[in-house]
């Protein structure tokens, strides 16, 4: 093999190895950081997996938000207003648009006791904006709402 061909072969091998490694790493990273979304009925019915990081969402049920007297632990109930609701526990600061009746997303793990341990609570910046995940859920007319 002449040196020029040899160099070309090296380049091709190098590129193939690089591309292979990139694709493998990308798929791995994608797989590990995929958070599936589950609506309240699937959380309650047990369709949602436990002990793995998922995303859930619903409306914050009126009167369900409870702060502990010490620290920043808080719990609330998310509902679809169609009979499915589940408890969420979270430790930290809630977003500004978090309030009762508001549609929100939580990210974290569902425990085997049916309680969702959230490490992230997301409410959107615009109060008229519904996350696409919750768009199928109709907003109730009366309770809570945005009116102050």
């Amino acid at each position: 093999m002449n040196p020029k061909r040899k160099q070309r072969l090296m380049v091709v091998l190098f590129l193939l190895a690089g591309a292979g490694a990139t694709v493998a790493l990308t798929l791995l990273a994608l797989n590990e950081n995929l958070n599936l979304f589950y609506p309240p009925d699937q959380i309650v019915s047990g369709e949602a997996p436990t002990q793995t990081r998922i995303r859930a969402g619903g409306m914050v049920m009126a009167g369900s938000v409870a702060r502990q007297a010490n620290g920043l632990d808080v719990s609330f109930v998310l509902t679809d207003y169609e009979g499915s609701d589940f408890e969420v526990r979270y430790s930290g600061i809630l977003p500004d648009l978090f309030r009762e009746g508001q549609g929100i997303l939580v990210q974290g793990q569902l425990g085997s006791d049916g309680v969702f341990k959230a490490d992230e609570v997301l409410a959107k910046h615009d109060e008229n904006y519904m996350p696409p995940e919750l768009a199928d859920m109709h907003r109730p007319a009366a309770p809570g709402g945005d009116a102050e």
Partner: protein
């Protein structure tokens, strides 16, 4: 009356865009100098009418004309005048009006600055830009009319601008960003014009290079401003979220960065020709994809405008037409290209190829992560999924570190091949220098050496040393002899290193505490001590606020920070206004969470070292891009091509090297 005039202006601009497209493309194809000669006035007219439409909407905002639906939804009589002004682009319709205005502005700039180009080529460029403008204006007029009236149900007052947008950031961030987004349409138009005319040598690259640099500089600035704005305005100290809309601006940036480097190779060496064309098409296509992501509401994002399916469909169709059409043209024409120039493994060409590969892979990683949720939903029939920031960080960080390794070697290698003794002599002191900095600086700053900080700091110094060494070598015949383009390149690379330091140090060394604080309580934050002195009420112009009072002790210095929780009156929404003590070496960032029982508050306090370097770096990068364009080379270019200006094509100019340029 004036909104109707704005409406008419839009319609006239649309007609002129039709004219530009026809006379530009047909005039070049049929060789009609008179048609091409008409372009100039059409382009001026298009810009003038777009400016009139924009002024009409601005006037409606400044005079509180709530009979215009867009004004009623996004303004309020209590709003200060400068926010009324920037509210023009505070939501979907107006921001798209700004987009089209900027597009018309770029078209005008090309027509004016491009007078030295062969007439048929300029005609094709303007024709392609006119075609894009037709699409944008049709979208604006038929799906997003900003002048729609609310008659007779005119509200007494407006619904107010989203409080997050009542900020200096809104005044500057979108115009800069759009200048960048839309600016890449120029490179796109040059590429398509080159494909159409079959003039596929290095000439088009030489012509479009300054344009791409300027667009890139604007986009860099726009992204940097957006990140800075998110940092101080969202209230929680994050500066990048891998949000789909951020990614939408970042993907064209990555592709555009690859483009300006590959344009350099095409211009100087005549290689990478078809690849450069493809990059030019890709970059602008990603700008359009960004517009689709932002304006269709298909992805969960903090930025999303109100959702309207017809808008999404329109942009998608336009996107498919533009991308499909240009790629088809590329497929038909680009195969005929051959370059015969060879280069070795240790040459500048090879390193710029590495740069391009890494940037395009990084772009693909971001693209995959951004669109995967959509594909997943389509494939599974409605199951929803999201991709977390760890995915992006895990892949993006190593890619950028690899890029930095290559960036440190790039100035040391020469076109075609490098003398290995010179390279070895440089490496002999650069490697220990970078290693010493990587270990030494984090050790001095934080007393520990986390490997991420060491890698990033070492690589940043690696890049800086390489550029310093090269500058010294270049400046030997006299500092005056160093061309501006070279200063621009070096400056942009230094900016990259500065951003690298900022990103890595902030990510690794930041201290963050969420806690419950009672009035009078003191808490530690890194080397700071923070005392909470309670909360008082404050009345703002269009909001009421609860103002926290914190006493910070930093070494032997004491100061107070007053973060606020604001409630805006018109819409009743609540916002966190953080208080920041900024500094080159560290930011102290306080935010009020929510009130708890008996006067306690949830509080977030953060110590963020080097966070300013992130934006300082992007500012330096943008300056570098701007400086490169001012290089005398481009002025000479204009003079040289000034003679054959006019309608006659000048094929003999193709591929002629510039004066003083070695081939």
């Amino acid at each position: 009356m004036i909104p109707e005039l704005g409406q008419v202006s839009l319609a006239l601009a649309f007609c002129l865009a039709l004219g530009i497209t026809f006379f530009g493309l047909a005039g070049a194809a049929l060789r009609r100098p008179v048609w091409l000669g008409a372009l100039n006035s059409l382009v001026i007219g298009q810009f003038v009418f777009m400016a009139l439409a924009f002024l009409a909407l601005t006037q409606a905002f400044l005079t509180d004309d709530f009979s215009v639906a867009y004004v009623a939804n996004n303004s309020n009589s209590l709003l200060p005048w400068y926010y009324k002004f920037s509210a023009v682009w505070g939501a979907h319709e107006g921001s798209f009006l700004l987009w089209v205005l900027i597009m018309a502005g770029w078209t005008l700039a090309v027509a004016v600055r491009g007078r030295h180009l062969p007439g048929d080529f300029l005609g094709r460029v303007l024709g392609v830009m006119g075609l894009l403008n037709i699409g944008f204006l049709a979208f604006l007029i038929w799906t997003s009319n900003p002048f729609e009236r609310l008659v007779p149900m005119t509200p007494a007052d407006g619904a107010d601008l989203n409080p997050l947008l009542q900020d200096f950031g809104l005044i500057v961030h979108p115009p800069m960003l759009y200048m960048g987004y839309v600016g890449f349409s120029v490179a796109f138009a040059f590429a398509v014009a080159a494909l159409l005319s079959g003039r596929l040598d290095a000439t088009w690259a030489r012509w479009s290079r300054p344009w791409s640099n300027v667009a890139w500089a604007f986009l860099t600035l726009g992204i940097g401003l957006g990140s800075w704005w998110a940092y101080y305005e969202l209230g929680w100290g994050g500066w990048w979220f891998w949000d789909p809309v951020e990614n939408a601006s970042f993907m064209p940036w990555l592709a555009g960065t690859a483009l300006i480097h590959s344009l350099a190779v095409t211009e100087k060496r005549g290689t990478f020709k078809s690849w450069t064309l493809l990059l030019a098409i890709t970059t602008f296509s990603l700008s359009l994809l960004g517009a689709f992501i932002v304006r269709s509401g298909v992805l969960t994002s903090v930025h999303a405008f109100a959702v309207d399916p017809t808008r999404g469909l329109f942009i998608l169709a336009f996107l498919v037409l533009v991308v499909g059409g240009s790629l088809l043209l590329y497929g038909l024409r680009a195969t005929t290209m051959r370059s015969r120039v060879g280069y070795t493994l240790f040459s500048r060409e090879a390193f710029l190829l590495v740069n391009n590969i890494l940037l395009v892979v990084a772009m693909a990683v971001v693209l995959l992560g951004t669109l995967y949720p959509l594909a997943y939903e389509a494939a599974t029939g409605g199951d929803k999924v999201s991709i977390g920031p760890p995915y992006f960080n895990r892949l993006f960080v190593p890619l950028m570190l690899l890029l930095s390794v290559a960036l440190g070697l790039a100035p040391l290698v020469q076109w075609k091949r490098t003398r290995s003794d010179r390279l070895r002599r440089d490496l002999r002191w650069m490697v220990p220098g970078a290693l010493a900095a990587g270990v030494g600086v984090p050790l001095v700053v934080s007393g520990a050496v986390p490997w991420q900080a060491a890698a990033a700091f070492g690589l940043a110094v690696w890049v800086l040393l390489a550029h310093a060494a090269d500058l010294v070598r270049r400046a030997r015949p006299g500092l005056r002899r160093v061309p501006l383009a070279y200063w621009g390149m070096s400056l942009a690379h230094v900016g990259f290193a500065v951003t690298l330091i900022g990103v890595s140090m902030t990510s690794v060394l930041s201290v963050e505490e969420d806690l419950r604080m009672s009035p009078g309580q003191t808490s530690e934050l890194g080397y700071l001590s923070v005392r909470f002195d309670g909360v008082s009420n404050r009345q703002g112009p269009n909001f009421v606020a609860q103002r926290g009072d914190f006493l910070i002790t930093e070494g032997n210095r004491q100061y107070r920070l007053y973060p606020e929780k604001r409630r805006y009156l018109a819409r009743g929404n609540v916002m966190t206004e953080a208080a920041i003590s900024p500094g080159l070496m560290r930011d102290v960032y306080m935010s009020l969470g929510e009130p708890l029982d008996n006067g306690d508050w949830a509080v977030r306090m953060q110590l963020k070292p080097y966070v300013r370097w992130i934006w300082l770096g992007s500012l330096i990068m943008a300056l570098g891009g701007a400086l490169a364009v001012l290089d005398a080379r481009y002025r000479r270019l204009r003079q040289r091509f000034a003679a054959p200006a006019g309608a006659a094509p000048a094929p003999e100019l193709s591929g002629t090297p510039l004066p003083g340029e070695a081939r």
